[in-house]
């Protein structure tokens, strides 16, 4: 329960846009090509399917210290394959990221310390070998940052983060 339940990101320069797009080949390329062409600075881009098989959902995090989020939104609208764009920074929303972290385990002492960290963060242990543990964590970016920082002293072997996904409340 440590840092959880923080709904909105504390970082005011991170702006969340959600784009619903046609689930067709090449659409991701059109979106990423737009960012490159307009020199937009994007922190993360997460893409997945929705309950409608013809629609994909992209969550885009824009660093507004470098890029005007309103211009990103307006340019996204110009793409024929973009169905809708929502700006989730203006409304209450749940923002989440998932991470997998493989940590080095030196000995049993360290193993039990790592388990304590996992419990504290309400993370899960999803794989274990004699010299490593894989941790799965879902939360906002700050929470993911924090657990990574905590686990660093044991020796992190590998990290993967999904990038932010988001949904408006209500």
């Amino acid at each position: 329960m440590l840092i959880d339940r923080i709904e909105a990101s504390k970082n005011p320069t991170k702006h969340t846009l959600v784009a619903l797009v046609e689930n067709e080949p090449g659409v991701l390329n059109r979106v990423s090509s737009l960012f490159r062409r307009r020199n937009f600075n994007i922190d993360s881009l997460a893409v997945g399917t929705t309950n409608d098989p013809t629609v994909s959902r992209m969550t885009i995090v824009v660093d507004t210290s470098k890029t005007n989020a309103a211009l990103v939104e307006r340019n996204l609208y110009k793409l024929v394959n973009v169905i809708d764009v929502q700006d989730l920074s203006a409304v209450p929303a749940v923002l989440r990221e998932m991470a997998l972290i493989k940590v080095h385990v030196a000995d049993n002492q360290k193993r039990s310390e790592i388990k304590q960290v996992i419990d504290l963060f309400e993370a899960q242990m999803v794989d274990m070998t004699p010299n490593s543990i894989m941790v799965e964590l879902t939360g906002n970016e700050e929470k993911v940052d924090s657990i990574i920082k905590m686990l660093e002293e044991y020796g992190i072997k590998e990290v993967v983060r999904t990038g932010r996904i988001a949904m408006a409340r209500g």
């Binding site: 090509s33 005007n68 307006r74 340019n75 609208y77 793409l79 024929v80 809708d84």
Partner: protein, 584 residues
């Protein structure tokens, strides 16, 4: 009805009202050309000599008619040759549909002969593009392409059609409806927002003492000429146009100050710099019209109307930004403003003070040795001899700017030129496209010796199509605009701008075309007269002074009102003129 993909292609084009296409055949588009054989008479195919010129001609056809221009090429090099023309259409918001043949669908991605990833290449320079791998998508895609090209802010759409799609057969069901859930021509402000935006705009206009209207091509695209003139005349506000906005208001109109920007007249740029309100209609604050943004119109509030939401706030922040058709906005806004016709006396007086000494800086005021001819004099002679009643297609460079200064445009959409992209070699293919669009019109291509030498092969297209086009080549033996920049910014280090030319009269003869040459103003007038009397295409060469510069000029990085101007010629007192506004 069972039809091949190729037959469906032409069916859809006819359904869309297409009667002329500009193109060049080749391997991957041969089935479509084979099917063309059966519809000739209904659709005329113009065989250009280079695919780029097909795209440029299609672009000019759109500008001349408001109907979507169509160009086509085969895969690979044929398709890539279209790219410059497509980019030109993108920059100037021209509705064209570019058709390219592609290798058979099972070969896509295999680096097959003449395979090029055209949807990949053209993604940033099209509004949208399609790769058609299934014949059952073909009719829908083509109908969508025509719709997207024209809707909202116009632009190019490319349709890349696999060869097997052209060959297969399917039941043809005409597509009459476009259903694009993701595409809104504009993202209109919410209904309840519009009245608020309009009343804010009306308030800004009511409060302004030194307002100015910046008129762009969006007014043409919205077909808002009537609404625009009503707004202009009721508001009494002075108007300046962008390069592509030339022709939205008669240049004789007392409120029309004419073109703004890098080579706009000094008093126009001074007025913008001094204004307290900019009313920007269907224009995009291109760097060539703003100069250095840091110093741009610092005392002005900004009303910006554009149908493209991404243009509002892109370069110049808008105090009132309205994303909508200029036509709709002006229709509702004009009744909301006070009648101020004949108003703003102090403001006009100030502008006229700046205007006062313009003539003194005019190159025409110089006393020239006999036998020396300046390019602006050629433009002026064409204007005077033709009565200005022609369609003008200019190329890119010095002559293009002189055309805006010395040709007074009185007809709407009279000038066809490459603005945003600045595509050299535009004039001749543009004149070809424009002539098909306006067959009754006297169509002139005006080019420099550089740009014209990029499009010489199209002389034969002119001959083959028996097009009565007048081609004026203004020859200063330099790439003039580049030379001017080298003179002003690179210490006269003339690097690779010396340009030799063939004997244009003999060249014309080789093409079976009438060729003429003039080296002074009297000859120029005679050549223009004879060319107009000649019933057929004419190539005219005008040999002009080599190092004349286009002034005023806002050099890159400078503020809009920080212009380099020509040295003043002492004028007889009778011609008058204040001294103010002269800035070097």
């Amino acid at each position: 009805m069972q039809l091949t993909g190729s037959q469906i292609f032409w069916e859809v084009l006819m359904q869309q009202g297409v009667d002329v296409v500009f193109g060049y055949p080749g391997g991957a588009i041969m089935p479509i050309y084979d099917a063309l054989y059966d519809v000739e008479g209904k659709i005329h195919h113009v065989l250009v000599r280079h695919e780029e010129n097909a795209a440029l001609a299609a672009d000019a056809y759109w500008r001349a008619t408001g109907r979507v221009g169509v160009c086509m090429a085969t895969s690979g090099p044929g398709a890539t040759n279209l790219v410059t023309g497509i980019a030109n259409a993108m920059m100037d918001s021209s509705a064209i549909v570019a058709i390219t043949g592609q290798v058979a669908s099972h070969l896509v991605g295999s680096d097959a002969f003449q395979e090029t990833d055209m949807t990949g290449i053209t993604q940033p320079i099209t509004k949208h593009n399609y790769l058609v791998t299934d014949i059952n998508d073909l009719a829908r895609v083509l109908v969508e392409a025509f719709h997207i090209a024209k809707a909202g802010r116009p632009g190019p759409v490319l349709v890349d059609i696999c060869k097997d799609v052209q060959q297969k057969m399917t039941e043809y069901v005409p597509v009459t409806e476009v259903n694009l859930r993701g595409y809104k021509a504009a993202k209109p402000p919410k209904k309840q927002e519009m009245p608020r935006l309009l009343s804010q705009a009306a308030q800004l206009i009511a409060a302004a003492r030194k307002p100015i209207i910046l008129a762009g091509q969006g007014i043409k695209h919205a077909d808002a000429h009537a609404e625009f003139i009503e707004f202009v005349e009721k508001s009494g506000i002075p108007v300046t146009t962008t390069l592509l906005g030339i022709g939205v208001l008669n240049e004789d109109h007392p409120q029309n100050l004419r073109m703004m920007g890098m080579h706009g007249e000094a008093y126009v740029n001074n007025a913008i710099a001094d204004a307290d309100l900019l009313i920007a209609l269907g224009m995009r604050f291109d760097d060539r019209v703003t100069g250095n943004l840091k110093y741009y119109a610092k005392n002005a509030q900004v009303i910006h109307v554009d149908i493209d939401p991404s243009e509002i706030g892109k370069n110049v922040p808008a105090d009132v930004g309205i994303c909508a058709s200029v036509k709709d906005v002006l229709r509702d806004l004009t009744p909301m403003i006070e009648n101020h016709a004949g108003g703003y006396r102090a403001w006009y007086a100030r502008i006229n003070e700046w205007r006062g000494d313009t003539k003194a800086h005019d190159v025409m005021a110089y006393e020239l040795p006999p036998n020396m001819m300046l390019a602006p004099q050629v433009i002026r002679a064409i204007w005077e001899e033709t009565g200005g009643d022609i369609t003008v297609c200019t190329d890119v460079g010095q002559h293009q700017m002189w055309e805006t200064q010395y040709f007074q445009h009185r007809r709407k959409n009279q000038l066809i030129t490459s603005g945003g992209a600045g595509t050299m070699g535009f004039a001749l293919p543009a004149a070809i496209g424009a002539k098909f669009g306006r067959p009754q019109d006297e169509v002139w291509a005006i080019a420099g010796d550089g740009g014209f030498q990029m499009s010489i092969p199209e002389l034969q297209t002119v001959m083959q199509e028996k097009l009565n086009i007048k081609i004026a080549v203004i020859n200063n033996s330099f790439l003039g605009m580049v030379r001017q920049w080298q003179e002003l910014m690179h210490d006269r280090r003339y690097s690779s701008v010396n340009m030799t030319s063939p004997n244009f009269v003999k060249l014309a003869e080789a093409y079976g075309m009438c060729g003429m040459r003039a080296t002074n103003v009297a000859e120029a007038r005679e050549v223009i007269q004879r060319a107009r009397e000649h019933n057929g295409p004419v190539l005219m060469e005008f040999v002009v002074e080599q190092e004349t510069n286009v002034f005023p000029m806002v050099q890159p990085g400078k503020a809009l009102n920080e212009m380099t101007r020509r040295e003043k010629v002492p004028l007889p007192a009778a011609m008058g003129g204040g001294m103010e506004g002269v800035r070097e």
